[in-house]
Symmetry: C2
Subunit: 303 residues, 2 copies
């Protein structure tokens, strides 16, 4: 049973104290020992991409509402969205809010949308940075990481509501995007195998929503636009994606009006590590005590 | 003019490339150089609190909705709240969502509340960890840091929508809470003055909402429950709070049913560093190029 395998590993993680139940399905606190694994993976990812000469940028866990509306995110993944709402009323409406809360009722009716939403992927905020004229020869490269949110509550500890993603992004011409993809398939495989993980690189699709989504998913697979690095965490039959490479073709170029050096519409591609999932994969593979992990794995994470 | 001083420093920060306009008032990207200041402040804060023997825990930027409802946050700060909403509909409702977005309309009507809200302060998730029986002698201590959200869009770069907070929390008896406060007034002052900042510790109040809020604020000041470490950033007349110590009395003890070792209702207190604000204070004080900061300041941040 898939649910049983989730449950066993989840209980082991909680019993070990590495992660803490934060009070809602899919939400976890992290111990210092767990966070040291996270830092190790992120440091290794940075070093693995050092030759990219990428600009390192860091963004908060919320992004502008207009940015999500401008991309196709609400079309493709409405069910994963985290829209932020706030209270802009007066004392009278405030009394109404408190009455709703006290009565155990939904209090959304007295809220208004804020100008931000939760960030679904680390790279979203970098594309608007590329709109001030054509890109330089060779395109632009970004390293970006941080907290992301996807609303998919699950008992599977590898499917967290909030998690860290670490990306290397290329924005430039079509050949450059393909080269970025190819380079990171190799680098990503070497990096993850160097951590002792058994990794397969497989054609995959994003979890597009609804009827139209089934068509989008089929197209994405047919063109092999998404490759996932999968490894067993809670199931050997259904290994978990811990990283991916994605060719966006001209999706963000068209959306944000980004021009490549030759004046064409920019193409983009990214390599993304699911940092928390990679931490879980390491804990599954090497055991719940990082001090006992193989010396070469430890040396790669914490040189 | 206060607004002018905001504007000048904001422009200097953006022109330097240390922070990036993320497309909504109060939301910023961060450069690698800026993030190294953040890491420096957080490392220094950890070392400053090493004698506390605190349990280090880390939580995502969202917390359970029930946790916010259980505390008095919605009573005291409804206008700062970030409530998270998502889409749980079918294909038909999805079509309605997309039509609203395409028409430039508010699309909240098709959303439902998620089980989480944005975290307003780093320490909120630690109190539920203290509910499994009476606290040990000497109480419990936590170190906790991470992204927080307060909905207060502003042109003042020191008033960000999303920012990092680093806290040392005590949960135990009343005397222990007072001792925690007193110890951290001294430690916090020494830590911030060691960074070359001119700091005053002043009685302060939280920005409680509305008519009732004015009474709460007056009470808080009268009992000196909140002390802020203030320093000039965008104004010398109205210096900015970059850290604070807070006695919560039995607020969280009552709310979460926490008992101290002697069986009484637990009291709590915390020291909180506004990490982004402290970074801005350092940039204002020592200039926009951290490589040129005084050697002793650099040594404390990056030993």
């Amino acid at each position: 049973m898939a649910d049983d395998s989730f449950g066993t590993f989840r209980r082991e993680l909680l019993d070990s104290g590495l992660v803490l139940d934060a009070g809602v399905e899919g939400l976890y606190g992290r111990s210092l020992a767990y966070e040291e694994i996270i830092s190790g993976i992120m440091g290794l990812t940075t070093r693995t991409g050092a030759d990219d000469g990428a600009m390192s940028v860091h963004f908060p866990p919320v992004i502008p509402r207009w940015l999500l509306e401008k991309t196709d995110y609400l079309k493709s993944f409405p069910d994963l969205t985290g829209s932020v709402h706030t209270f802009r009323g007066d004392d009278k409406l405030h009394a109404r809010l408190l009455a709703l809360v006290d009565g155990g009722h939904d209090w959304v009716e007295v809220l208004e949308p804020a100008d931000v939403v939760l960030r679904p992927a680390a790279c979203h905020p970098v594309y608007p940075l590329c709109t001030d004229g054509p890109l330089p020869d060779g395109g632009r490269r970004f390293e970006v990481h941080g907290w992301c949110f996807r609303h998919e509550p699950s008992a599977d500890p590898a499917r967290m509501l909030a998690f860290r993603m670490h990306e290397f992004v290329y924005v430039g011409d079509p050949d450059g995007a393909t080269a970025h993809r190819d380079a990171w398939v190799k680098r990503g495989t070497a990096m993850l195998e160097g951590l002792g993980l058994e990794v397969d690189v497989v054609v995959a699709n994003d979890p597009f929503f609804g009827r139209v989504g089934r068509v989008l998913a089929a197209n994405q697979r047919e063109e092999a636009l998404k490759l996932e690095f999968v490894t067993p965490i809670t199931s050997t039959e259904s290994p978990t994606a811990i990283a991916s490479v994605n060719r966006h073709q001209d999706h963000f170029g068209v959306t944000f009006g980004i021009s490549s050096a030759d004046g064409g519409v920019a193409h983009s591609a990214c390599f993304a590590v699911g940092v928390d999932r990679t931490a879980l994969a390491l804990l599954k593979r090497h055991g719940l005590d990082p001090s006992g992990w193989p010396a070469d794995v430890r040396a790669r994470l914490w040189p």
